[in-house]
């Protein structure tokens, strides 16, 4: 979810009370399953075109350097090289501006460096050649003269007075005077009076925490094929979470008319937020325009690590006061986040999510967005929220320990409920936090005995969820089957969920519905698949589009029977007269109507376009058991239970998969994943060997409990589920590890050397 798109949800009363579901809530096979297991599915790198060239990108070896000159003559002279591009081949109409107002310029600057290389891996120039190896060789022939500048990669160091300035004038008006120019945005929010609240507390704990940058770690590297002619008309195939956004950005960066660039989203091998922007797509198009040939660009894994967006790293100070009965009297947090050499670290989400699970009279949060010489951060699954939960829930855990209170009882006592004024401003509509805590308390995991050396941790977590611009069309075929065009790339099983919701409305089998992710020329605008919005927003639009088709089906039946339209209703795939007064007609099956639709008024379609704003916020409660080897500092997660409010689980298997996926990524983030920079500012671990995502054998079976507290903003009660699942894990695991090791862990990742060092420090060694 992009920073400028967040707005508090308005709620709404779409919910169809008392709906008896026939298809929704079942677990049919995924429609893309056969394609994926047989290799038929086409991912970004699988697209080819006649006469295609291969691209390669030259990247900066320096963390911060002025680009004095770029000489491409030798590369251009190499046999097989058809085009070389630099920043001069992109739009010069886009101007920098402070803060997020300059985001299009920021994206351009990130796609291809201008005056300066801003991080190790920053794109400097690119080549298209007749083979991938020739392109790789040609890149080495490009001669760049750099003037190396001092660099900074740590968030706290980047705020210090003596830190090198990355780009003066980037700070927007939110930033208070007196801060380093690397602090580019500032946020504060809250209510009440925290000083009074702390004075009332029986115990106040103040502590500081850090988290490292982690990468989304999608299995599919970025890949695209671009075709752009001198006439300004282009085609682009790429793996992305949102191809309308790709269309918009590429058109701007290359001075094209948006509608003249058709973008098709391939199957996607994971995104988790990291594919909500562009990196190589405009470069492929610029090379294609220059070479007048299709150009394919595929990133290596090292390029993915060095030059795409990991999440922010953070440094946080938390202060919470609690009474002996567990009531939180006041809470405040300071959240400093770096998101690379550009504005955009999601510090306001960190601040706003931090205390959202709790009903607080006095709460205050502050955020700083800080620039460093690192790659431009991209969204990662509930951007900003997991770090906040880690810091806040660690302090609550410590308060519970010192006051001898049950951690779930304390969460329940302070839990936000319907009508609670959220820590970030609005009043909560109907929410399901209490239900997740109660389900966690009742779960056998919570009362199961622990083995020696093990500890148990719990945490709550919160994410906003999002609606966003959405278009869906549905077309009925002559045989009564249906095809649905959605514009939200399927990153978590959404095609299946759309088919189930359409099946529910149309009353036809799931298997009779095919859902396609349409290209930008085949459907109206759709926002990116982000903010856990797809099953909510595209789902809502699918239901409404199907309802529009049903209304037309009823009209055709009414015309055939010669009765009023409102005397016909739709049930289970049939048009039926609404009662004895309407007349005695044999129910008319959908296929009987569609077979004659050409002669009875034309094709029957449905469509819906809107920006739904009733995405219900979502909460989760996680329980984790961890075991720490005190001799090696090694941690094993031995049991894990996710309890989360899904509103309504359309396809429960996919919902469980989202719950497990968030927990799995959280385990990696908590224990081993981190961007490691050397003193030279270069990334030390740009590969999966030393960037340690958990492997299957690192994980226990992750148990899931789906809580369903319907969202009033969706006809079937859906809440997004994809992101909330990664909010509690860092905290829950940290609490479990701290309990098992007997020492509070304040810095992620909790790698074995860190745990051993903490144990040694505690024992005074």
């Amino acid at each position: 979810m992009a920073l400028d798109e967040y707005k508090p949800q308005k709620g709404g009363d779409e919910l169809e009370q008392g709906h008896a579901f026939k298809y929704v809530g079942t677990r049919p096979d995924r429609p893309d399953g056969t394609d994926k297991v047989t290799g038929r599915a086409r991912f970004g790198a699988d697209i080819t075109a006649p006469g295609m060239l291969h691209g390669a990108i030259l990247r900066s070896p320096h963390a911060h350097a002025r680009i004095v000159s770029i000489d491409t003559a030798k590369a251009e002279a190499l046999d097989g090289v058809k085009a070389v591009v630099t920043r001069a081949d992109f739009s010069d109409a886009i101007q920098p501006a402070p803060g997020m107002a300059g985001e299009m310029w920021n994206v351009l600057e990130n796609v291809m460096a201008g005056d300066k290389a801003l991080y190790d891996g920053h794109a400097i120039a690119a080549v298209a050649a007749t083979s991938a190896l020739t392109a790789r060789d040609a890149v080495k022939l490009i001669e760049v003269t750099y003037e190396v500048l001092p660099h900074v990669t740590d968030v706290d160091a980047a705020m210090a007075d003596d830190a090198p300035v990355i780009r003066d004038g980037t700070a927007d008006k939110s930033v208070p005077p007196g801060l380093h120019p690397n602090v580019v945005r500032y946020h504060q929010s809250g209510h009440g009076d925290v000083a009074t609240g702390f004075a009332e507390a029986d115990l106040v704990i103040e502590d500081s925490f850090t988290t490292e940058a982690t990468h989304q770690g999608y299995i599919e590297p970025h890949a695209c094929l671009g075709i752009l002619g001198g006439d300004g008309k282009g085609e682009l195939w790429c793996c992305t979470q949102g191809h309308w956004n790709v269309q918009k950005i590429c058109a701007a960066l290359l001075d094209l008319e948006t509608s003249q660039l058709r973008v098709t989203a391939s199957e996607i091998g994971g995104g988790f937020g990291g594919k909500t922007t562009v990196f190589i797509e405009p470069v492929a198009l610029a090379l294609s325009r220059k070479a007048n040939k299709p150009v394919k660009l595929v990133m290596s894994r090292a390029e993915v690590f060095r030059a795409t967006g990991p999440t922010a790293s953070t440094s946080m100070d938390i202060k919470i006061g609690m009474n002996k009965d567990g009531t939180i009297t006041a809470a405040q947090g300071v959240f400093r986040a770096q998101g690379g050499a550009f504005p955009g670290a999601p510090m306001e989400f960190t601040a706003m999510c931090a205390f959202a699970p709790y009903n607080l009279a006095n709460v205050h949060q502050v955020g700083y967005d800080v620039m460093t010489n690192r790659p431009k951060q991209a969204a990662y699954r509930a951007p900003g929220s997991p770090m906040a939960a880690f810091a806040v829930e660690s302090v609550i855990d410590e308060l519970c320990n010192q006051l001898g209170l049950d951690p779930l009882e304390v969460r329940l006592k302070n839990a936000s409920r319907e009508g609670t004024r959220a820590s970030y401003g609005p009043k909560f509509q109907r929410i399901g936090l209490v239900e997740t805590i109660e389900a966690a308390m009742a779960h056998p995991h919570y009362s199961a005995p622990l083995e020696p050396g093990q500890g148990r941790g719990i945490s709550c977590g919160f994410w906003f969820n999002h609606g966003g611009e959405t278009s869906v069309t549905l077309a009925l075929s002559e045989d009564g089957s249906a095809q649905i065009m959605v514009g939200t790339p399927d990153i978590g099983g959404s095609r299946s969920s759309m088919a189930l919701m359409a099946a529910e409305v149309l009353g036809i089998p799931y298997e009779n519905i095919r859902v396609t992710v349409a290209d930008t020329a085949s459907l109206g605008y759709n926002e990116v698949s982000h903010g856990s919005r797809v099953t909510y927003a595209s789902g809502l639009a699918t239901i409404k589009a199907a309802e529009a088709a049903v209304r037309e089906l009823c009209r055709r039946a009414a015309a055939k029977w010669g009765i009023e339209e409102d005397a016909v209703y739709w049930e289970d795939g049939y048009a039926k007269p609404s009662g004895p007064n309407a007349g005695d007609f044999e129910p008319l099956h959908i296929s009987k109507i569609t077979r004659r639709m050409g002669a009875t008024g034309g094709p029957i379609n449905g469509h819906f376009e809107a920006t739904p704003e009733g995405a219900g916020v979502s909460f989760a409660t996680h329980i984790v058991d961890a075991e720490v080897d005190p001799e090696t500092g090694s941690t094993k997660v031995v049991r894990y239970t996710v309890v989360q409010d899904a509103g309504k689980a359309i396809h429960p298997t996919y919902v469980e998969g989202q719950f497990q996926g968030g927990a799995a990524q959280g385990i990696g983030w908590a224990l081993n994943e981190e961007y490691i920079y050397g003193a030279d500012g270069r990334l030390q671990n740009a590969g999966f060997l030393d960037y340690r995502i958990p492997v299957a054998s690192d994980l226990p079976m992750i148990d899931t409990v789906i809580v369903e507290v319907p969202n009033p903003g969706h006809p079937y009660g859906v809440r997004g589920v994809g992101e909330t699942s990664i909010c509690p894990p860092l905290a829950a695991i940290a609490n479990a590890v701290s309990a098992a090791a007997g020492v509070r862990m304040r810095n992620l990742p909790m790698s074995p050397p860190r745990i051993l060092a903490a144990l040694e420090e505690q024992s005074g060694g």
């Binding site: 090696t632 081993n672 490691i676 030390q684 030393d690 340690r692 492997v695 790698s751 051993l756």
Partner: protein, 287 residues
Amino acid sequence: MRYLSPASFDDAIAQAAQAPGVTRFLAGGTDVLVQMRADIVTPDTLIDIKKIPGTHDIARAPDGGWTIGVAVTGAEMREHVDLGADWPGLVEAMDLIGSTQVQGRATLTGNLCNASPAADSVPAMIAAGVTLTVTGPEGSRTVAAEDIPTGPGQTSLARGELVTAVHIPPRGAGGGDAYLRFIPRTEMDIAVVGCGVNLTVEGDTITAARVALGAVAPTARLAPQAASAIIGTTLDDAALDALAAAASAACAPIDDKRGTVKFRTHIAGVLARRAAKIAYDRARKAQ
């Protein structure tokens, strides 16, 4: 780039002698191909030794030891029941490398000649007393495993020389070996520290031992003081403490992204202790 697949070691040596520029011998390719793909090395000549007869054989040697062909994969070693019964530690060390797919390609010889200080099979080979036949234009010589790597990515092999066979000594009665490594994950990782222990017992007393460490110095290395600490003992707590202290003392590691000097030095002692217990247990059962 030229790809050659000679039918004999003599041909391989002759081809290497004539090849200009950068030459790489290719066995399983789990290092060479990765380095080529990562643009670390682009050989002018690639000499594939897998098609040479005998390179896939695991054979009992006349002295009761084992001769392992240079293209024998980790998976083939693990499936060889008699080899595993004699040298479980060495087989387990090889089996720790990579994924199931990598196990279908990776070889002991490749792991040794890649000369990574963190190679898993190498401390186990050193502890076991493995020797290699090295053949080149000047003929053949026998080299101890610990004398092959000379530094990260560097070996004692002369230009045109290659390893043509791996020799594992006879196990004998009362012998047991073990290899343990520390990794932050449970698999698919690179050793932060590795430790191989090979020992022989008579009754409950250790009569001979070799201890080798990986990833704590520029090469995997033998730790004779660590072995001395347990020879003549029944691996009691005092012996284990002395072993751990000697293993830690034998470390000369670096601080890097995978671990600190302090952490590696400490873990070497922990692993030596744990590996020795396993080897001791195996040895007593093998009497």
